[in-house]
Symmetry: C2
Subunit: 432 residues, 2 copies
């Protein structure tokens, strides 16, 4: 028993001694993860420092006597505004700031109006009138927040409208004399806070969500192009690059395109606020990006369908007669369409008209598609082949024929975007 | 000239007279749209009335003297809390309420700690210490808001943490004596406001987001089943229902499944807060719903690929020899898999184990798939057919063969869900 209990003791002691080491290991592990997370997108670190700076700056209102005397404890609203309005992107910050200022102004005015109405109805009637209006406004505006068109751009403003209206009208019951001063102070502090947030957001390394949307759509197009280009070589066993064939992540790139719809929509909504951007100014056709995104997604569904044939491919190692005959136009479509998408993406990233070489690639894929169609029409092709071999390869060919019009539609949509947004003409040297 | 100017006058007068009518027409139009919007989901109207009620109730704090004396103007924090915390679903309200209360408690305590530290360092050092900590906390917590795991569940709490910490620590510079009272009042008003919001949200027609997620996944599955079932009849020109063939919306039902990923994820995040739900209690396996959702989406991509063959189908009106031979197993897979999905959806909606008939449907589709595969292997089939006819129909057959394992995977995932969540056993009478 003594030895056992001694062993127990030693075990417990050993565990206890190992504990700090384990904990330290855990801490280091988490710290490394956080560090990596920050390094993945350093704009996150910049944004955090910007928020810290903005809050510290606005809290000077409290530390500096003359500023504090102006607003008193209500200066806190300026601090709150900065914290609430400072968002990662300029669009979100502008949207929240403008929403907050406009909502405060209009709700404050309405609150003072309701207060005047309530004072007419005597001491007993006053809380009833106030209560009725608070109920009415809260319920109506909450309902308005459900309407998609309102939700997309004014959700925050509508909430601040309820907040400010309740503040002014409910306070009016107790603070009859100070009401106008309070309404004025709330508006002023919120304007000061909003402008502080907006100025810091725009002046220190701004993140323009419009640019991000532009790049997201361009990157999606590029990934799609790479997946399509890679598919041809992969399906027909053409190994160009030799040793680099281990990394086949480019084949899966299209997958992120499949599920990016909601991200694109919310980015387009925020981008509309960025009216002062030097490149994507007022009335930039953000809706056109959504149209391009949808076309890319439809194209990605096709690429997904193609990719499902990669799994069945391994059954037949040697190319059949049929396969070797249609191989050339198929790989042509893959490479030319992929090239076209990649060049379109590059043009969009540089915010300029599509290079004329894109049309050449599209023409070539269309010719290859016509070629493929007529090959599929000639029945002589398959006389010595097995049905099990013909159908999957034929299905791949059909999908490829189907993809070409999408590439053309994407190119047309980009062309429309370029003319709507007055993209600069492409340099003549780029065209072949 | 006189006649002309008279005409102008009359025109202007006519326009002016028509203006109220036009405006009225516009108002009626908008009102009808809003009415329809409310009728589409009456829970929106209920929620709006609930918010109105909650705000009116909490503003009693202001109207009733003894309550007002306790908190004074700080009662406004309770009103704000109700407005900010009252969300459409119980999950969101609970999440925001708990986040707000916990963040206020912890940030308040930290703020008081920093205040004590700052008072040690004299009058000149105080604003510097306070400013440094406000910067540090604001920047660190803003960075933490980017981390996906934090963002998903604690985003709101982290923001309130910055707000409350700034409020307490910055105020401490001016309100030395009242600081503890203020921290206490802020915590109390926020607790009262949060509980008011939570109680009203749960007690009056609650909207449980967990139930919504359950039904969303079930509905998606049902739509997928209907699309799949409908496809068989449509592609092989089997008109069962006669006149009702005009409405082919069921064929497009799967499309909403393609893009529901983000909705499902955010619903699952909110559902985790609903620990007091009578049916989906604590530790309900919400992640399993995401797994089922992903499987349904992969299946929907296949159905999308199938649907693209409907457009090319019109070219051949009379069924070819090949087509008529594989028609039977193909339609069998469509109807049996579709049935299986619809029954699985029904079981999930009723929150019970899947009926045993599902396995029967799955077995039948697997047999049909095997049958189809062996048909495709026999080369004699296509001797009198054209390649242009064989490939699309063959591709449809291949996709159908490919779909069957997905149906089985969905059924398995649902089985896992049922055992993880202890769904009730299905009634014996339901099984055939």
């Amino acid at each position: 028993m003594t030895i056992e209990s001694q062993n127990d003791h030693e075990n417990a002691w050993g565990l206890l001694k190992a504990l700090p080491e384990k904990l330290w290991g855990k801490v280091v592990d988490v710290a490394e993860k956080i560090k990596k997370f920050g390094e993945d997108d350093p704009r996150r670190i910049t944004h955090s420092l910007k928020v810290g700076l903005a809050v510290t700056l606005i809290s000077l209102f409290y530390y500096i006597r003359p500023l504090y005397d102006g607003f008193g404890a209500n200066s806190m609203w300026a601090v709150f505004t900065v914290i609430l309005v400072c968002e990662f992107s300029v669009g979100a910050t502008l949207g929240k700031g403008l929403n907050r200022m406009l909502a405060t102004l209009s709700a404050g005015a309405l609150g003072i109006g309701v207060h005047s109405l309530a004072t007419l109805s005597g001491d007993t009637g006053r809380p009833i009138i106030l209560g009725f209006f608070v109920f009415l406004i809260a319920a109506t505006v909450t309902f308005a927040r459900f309407i998609p068109a309102m939700k997309a751009r004014y959700d925050y403003g509508l909430m601040i409208f309820i907040l400010t209206f309740s503040l002014i009208s409910v306070s009016s019951y107790r603070e009859n004399d100070q009401l106008l001063v309070m309404a004025y102070q709330r508006l002023t502090t919120i304007v000061v806070g909003s402008f502080t947030a907006i100025v810091i957001c725009i002046c220190i390394r701004p993140v323009w969500i419009g640019e991000n949307l532009n790049n997201l759509v361009a990157n999606n197009m590029e990934k799609l192009g790479k997946s399509l280009e890679g598919f041809g070589g992969e399906y027909f066993n053409i190994t160009e690059e030799g040793p680099s064939m281990d990394d086949k992540s480019f084949l899966q790139g299209y997958k992120s395109v499949l599920t990016s719809q909601e991200t694109e929509e919310s980015m387009a909504n925020l981008a509309r606020w960025e009216v002062w951007h030097f490149r994507f100014g007022f009335q930039h056709p953000w809706k056109q990006y959504l149209k391009i995104g949808t076309l890319c997604r439809q194209c990605a569904y096709k690429v997904d369908a193609l990719n499902s044939y990669l799994n069945t491919k391994i059954q037949f190692q040697t190319p059949s007669e049929f396969q070797s005959k249609i191989q050339e136009p198929c790989t042509k479509i893959c490479s030319e369409s992929g090239q076209a998408l990649k060049e379109l993406a590059l043009g969009l990233k540089k915010v300029m008209n599509q290079p004329t070489s894109v049309n050449l690639h599209i023409e070539r894929s269309k010719m290859a598609a016509e070629n493929l169609k007529s090959l599929l029409n000639t029945t002589s092709l398959w006389e010595n082949d097995n049905l099990q071999l013909i159908i999957p390869t034929g299905a791949v060919a059909l999908i490829l024929v189907d993809i070409v019009p999408y590439i053309e539609k994407i190119s047309e949509a980009l062309h429309e975007l370029a003319s709507l947004a007055h993209f600069k003409r492409v340099d003549a040297r780029v065209s072949p």
